[in-house]
Subunit: 416 residues, 2 copies
């Protein structure tokens, strides 16, 4: 492999230095650059100060072949990114008539008159190519001069993201073809990070693919990054081995989500799901309905924060009420009840009791219940975390168990 | 006021440059420094490279009086922060026997033997004072030398945070007494950012307090920051004026949350709440149950993703089904139904229809319904955002309307 191209990312805005907003652009761009084999060697955040900005630019251009900035392209006097670049490259800003026309069209389409201050967004230097902004008024700039590439993008992530994907990434790939770099993520649940590390320790002795372990709300993820002409084969072989080592904890890869996997199976087969939850307070339903295919299989459910008798569901509430939060049996009855009430193929339940951490350093105990044509089943889980995280883990655990059930019933292959 | 003290924050770790984890430390520290009147003029992220680190330190110390670092204090060969500081200050690292003993005690308490590599965490330079780490093995360092303050902290936020609060912040306040700086946040809903700006434009002509406007999921926030001996009086006066200008949109200040405000009123009065939601899919229940007082007033609810007839609730489902998602009347019937079924004082409902943005560029229309002893009421809302954000805004809107209802019924004062 050649020596990697070096890059820096500069985030611009005094509000970032005051901690008023989190800079999500830099971490996103850093991960994107990593995946195309460009090595980020520094991230810098600077305020809206022309001298400071020029200094930051100069130092970055000394060290790196690619310098990417976000922010400072707005219509106010504080927006100085264009000026700073012009100073550092010793060029003059001029009004680009084409950009000016585009700006006026954009404002007309919004039914608004263009404030004169917005005109500065049509300024560019002659070595710059302008980059289309689909979601805002500030165009970006691409400058390729003296063997350095400077990329100027707006700060709001909703404007920066499509510009990166549509305008910048294709140009960067052409400008720095480099080798093939591919990534793959294997997602697991119901296993600790240390245990994952133990089961896949052999992967850490290999350079290609490189292996990383990350903790996420929906479980431990293993990420593989391979390079070279046989990157795809390397990844495929590593994935196969990883899945063998980590069975039965693996539930998906890359962009898979548990609600997505479950939703796909159920909607493809015309099957349906209902939920009853207390511990998680509606979060299970919320996660399921984040997917827009949920209306095809999710019928709804009950959030049972107090006792259930009032709902008049005609279920053995005595049994549930006596044991709710403390037994798998209650979870199973809850799942069965909602399955029957909503005439669904699957009923999924969560019941549990929060511990007062200030009084006792005890785990929250949660029971997951599933009811379907082949009967009922339950699992016990323990969580030692804050209330919000416990709720989230409980909801993910319920979905993980439902996926297991789909596998047991041959509705889903073991590893998707 | 004196010229503000200038600071820089350096985040250390190659994983940050690869975008593998987001740097939450820098934004937190920046906001904390801002509140004690220390001006952050740059944030830098550097990899685990001793030459690069030393360069970053040197440049930061040239520009700033306070340099704060997080990360690079672990037990591996990649953890080079201590060495980099020693090089830049031209001092020698030595084994601090007291720290060594503490380390061994910490490991013994965890029932684990100390790996030899952890010994490097007991190294310090003679000009440094060590800072206690309550949640991990790496102590921090406080160095006050040549009129510069260098603060070295561990990277994991759960270790950094208590160290900052217990060890660093008190020392910084003593070292740089400065003036009093106070902040206050006024929270609004159901008003656009531009309209807030218009109604409070006079505040932007004043230097003390400084005013900022921020968009959050639960509405537009106005933040005031005042300094000087009369900072408290300035804030109080500004808050009063702001609330006059922004009535009836203001719903809280500082750490207030809508579920918290509503929960306090209801639980204090022994009143209760139930919900029925389709559009938001359980999110309303989830937000309410994030508070641990929710068990005192929230009885639960129904997530109605499909039709309601199966629940056998004995309600005029024909009316609801015909108009669900398209009328305030349906929202009112839903609220009334769940109020009666769960015998609560308040019923709160959300119903709406998601638009397919790819087919038509239309708003999601949502109806909020409330039922209580004085009847039923409904409101229409429109959202033009992605599915997850629409759900969130709908849930917040429902809570905001419930708060309004509590005010109308004199259960809550106009501005809390």
């Amino acid at each position: 492999m050649n020596k990697p191209v070096k890059a820096e990312i500069i985030s611009i805005g005094t509000e970032l230095l005051r901690g008023e907003i989190a800079d999500t652009n830099a971490v996103y761009l850093a991960s994107q650059l990593h995946l195309i084999g460009i090595e980020v060697q520094r991230l810098t955040t600077s305020g809206d100060d022309i001298k400071m900005l020029a200094q930051v630019f100069r130092q970055a251009l000394k060290r790196s072949s690619v310098v990417i900035t976000t922010g400072g392209l707005g219509p106010t006097q504080d927006d100085l990114t264009r000026e700073a670049v012009a100073i550092v490259l010793d060029e003059k800003l001029f009004m680009d008539e084409e950009l000016e026309t585009q700006l006026k069209v954009t404002f007309a389409r919004m039914g608004r008159e263009m404030p004169p201050s917005n005109l500065q967004q049509a300024m560019r230097i002659s070595s710059a190519v302008s980059l289309t902004n689909l979601r805002g008024t500030a165009p970006g700039l691409w400058i390729d001069k003296n063997d350095k590439v400077i990329i100027i993008m707006p700060g709001p992530p909703r404007e920066m993201l499509p510009m990166w994907q549509n305008e910048v990434l294709p140009r960067l790939k052409t400008r720095f073809p480099g080798g093939i770099i591919l990534a793959r993520t294997i997602k697991t649940f119901a296993i600790q990070e240390a245990k994952v590390g133990e089961l896949i320790h052999e992967f850490f002795e290999v350079d290609n693919p490189v292996t990383g372990i990350y903790t996420k709300p929906d479980g431990i993820q293993v990420r593989l990054i391979a390079n070279g002409n046989n990157a795809l084969q390397l990844l495929d072989a590593a994935e196969k081995k990883l899945k063998e080592n980590l069975a039965p904890y693996v539930w998906g890869t890359d962009n898979d989500t548990l609600p997505g996997i479950i939703g796909q199976v159920l909607s493809n087969r015309g099957m349906s799901l209902a939920t009853m939850e207390d511990f998680s307070g509606g979060l299970l339903g919320h996660i399921i309905t984040d997917s827009d295919i949920s209306s095809q299989f999710y019928r709804g459910g009950i959030v049972a924060n107090s006792n259930l008798t009032e709902l008049g569901l005609g279920i053995p509430v005595v049994l549930i009420e006596r044991n709710r939060g403390t037994s798998g049996e209650a979870a199973e009855v809850m799942a069965l009840c909602i399955k029957e009430k909503l005439s669904t193929d699957f009923g999924l339940s969560i019941t549990g009791v929060f511990q007062n951490r200030e009084l006792a350093n005890q785990s929250d105990i949660v029971f997951i219940g599933i009811a379907d044509a082949s009967g009922t089943k339950s699992w016990q889980q323990q969580f030692m975390m804050n209330r919000a995280d416990s709720k989230e883990r409980a909801a993910v655990a319920a979905l993980f168990r439902l996926r297991q059930r789909l596998i047991e019933r041959n509705l889903l292959n073991y590893v998707k």
